[in-house]
């Protein structure tokens, strides 16, 4: 880059900085948040930093260009760690408890992390206090079949829903390190075990 161009850019940057909250709203928002948030409990300032998926979704209001979305989805898919033992189904009873538990990773939370599943999904028939942000998962396996591919789909979607739909609202429970492999197996069983109440 020529020095003249650098000077022009520097002047523009200076003008933007002087204007304060009048330049680029997204830059303004990030600068304000960086300045006005503080770490608390387990919630450190690093949490404000966008990863490439968050950045693409934020910059494009959850509708990034298709090529970018596909590239990022492939990267997310490639980063899924599948269980080494090849088994995807754990214990649905434990899965039900994990699905009910909405705690974890907030600054007030200590200890274990739940799946928060019922916050957004209808799952087992006994729980009527389910949210509707996500689709109903009632009869998940019964409707889709209990085969190996569907097990893999369920586990993968819990591990990293963004590998399937880049700007979905669903957290990436495995990718983020929120849920353990065993917890995700148990949740997969809740959806995919023919004996699970979800499939009755």
């Amino acid at each position: 880059m020529r020095p003249a161009a650098i000077a022009v850019l520097a002047a523009a940057a200076l003008a933007a900085a002087c204007a304060g909250l009048q330049s680029d709203p997204r830059a303004d928002a990030r600068a304000l948040m960086q300045r006005d948030f503080h770490a608390k409990g387990s919630a450190g300032m690093d949490r404000l930093k966008e990863d490439p998926v968050q950045s693409a979704c934020n910059a494009h209001r959850d509708n990034p260009p298709q090529a970018l979305a596909e590239k990022l989805q492939q990267e997310q898919m490639a980063a899924i760690k599948w269980p080494a033992d090849g088994k995807l189904l754990g214990d649905w009873k434990s899965g039900e408890k994990i699905a009910q538990d909405g705690r974890g990773m907030a600054w007030t939370d200590k200890g274990g992390v739940g799946g928060s599943c019922y916050n957004c999904h209808r799952i087992g028939p006994a729980t009527t206090s389910f949210g509707t942000i996500g689709p109903s998962l009632h009869h998940f396996g019964k409707l889709r079949g209990y085969g190996a591919e569907m097990q893999r789909y369920a586990y993968g979607r819990i591990y990293n829903a963004k590998a399937y739909n880049l700007c979905t609202q669903m957290p990436r429970f495995g990718h983020a390190g929120a849920l353990s492999e065993q917890q995700m197996k148990d949740l997969t069983a809740l959806l995919m075990d023919p004996a699970s109440p979800v499939n009755q």
Binding site: L32, D36, A106, W107
Partner: protein
């Protein structure tokens, strides 16, 4: 009064039933709330807040009579409905509670650190800015929400607040919009207003400050924003910070034109 409320809640099993947005349960709760608001415990905090506004207090032994909430020194009537707004003396946009805190610091000599140490209500303690905000808010009951957008910094605060609203980050990738960006959703049984739509955005303003029946305490929008970020798994927003004022500017301007009914009751 608190005991009576608790009993009323315990005797209202429909509050715990599954609720749809706009469904009979939500409609019933609205009726219940309308009845309760005729005898709202928030009034106790209004009275306390008026006393705190009027009496000389703090290290400077001054009242808040000279506090300019945007309509001139000491003018309380209608001020809350026109906040957040730009204040030249601080060269930034402030929401109601941020401005009250500013006045307590500059006029009465309190320190920000002191006020920000435990800024939210608990069962045993209601911070002074909460009571004062309730008093100030009550003096705008029945008025149209009209957060100004005339000053460039008010428009910039709106734009930055909008970006914050859609800013996904943290371990769960949540933003405000994760819960409040689409129509007719609920989390567990709680219906979620879509704050991007003017007709629903008023629900971000209406009823605040609010007497929260869960826990029986008075809360302001500063608390509500703090608790939303907690649930977003974000770090903590600074109390009465510019960042929170910007977010409140976005939410309030979206609600402009609707009648503000004064301090309310929240589930």
């Amino acid at each position: 009064m608190r005991r009576a409320l608790v009993l009323a809640l315990a005797a209202a099993p429909w509050l715990h039933a599954a609720a749809q947005a706009e469904d009979p349960v939500a409609a019933e709760f609205d009726k219940f709330r309308a009845v309760l608001e005729q005898d709202n415990p928030a009034e106790l905090f209004e009275v306390k807040g008026e006393e705190l506004w009027t009496k000389p207090r703090g290290p400077k032994n001054a009242s808040l009579a000279a506090c300019d909430l945007g309509l001139g020194p000491g003018v309380v009537k209608g001020a809350y409905a026109q906040l957040p707004r730009y204040f030249a003396d601080v060269d930034r946009v402030m929401d109601a509670e941020a401005r009250i805190v500013h006045c307590m610091i500059t006029l009465q000599g309190y320190s920000y650190a002191e006020l920000a140490k435990q800024p939210f209500s608990s069962l045993t303690r209601t911070p002074d800015p909460v009571s004062i905000a309730t008093y100030v808010a009550a003096q705008s009951a029945g008025m149209k929400i009209a957060a100004p957008q005339a000053h460039p910094k008010e428009r910039a605060a709106y734009a930055a607040g909008q970006e914050m609203f859609f800013y996904r980050a943290g371990p769960y990738d949540f933003s405000c919009a994760s819960c409040h960006g689409v129509d007719d959703k609920r989390i567990r049984t709680q219906p979620l207003p879509n704050f991007t739509r003017p007709a629903q955005a008023v629900r971000a303003v209406q009823g605040w400050p609010g007497y929260r029946m869960t826990g029986g305490v008075m809360h302001t929008l500063q608390w509500r924003m703090n608790d939303c970020f907690r649930q977003q798994r974000f770090p903590e927003p600074g109390y009465a910070s510019e960042m929170v004022s910007a977010l409140l500017t976005y939410l309030t301007v979206n609600a402009n034109g609707h009648e503000y009914r004064g301090p309310g009751i929240k589930r």
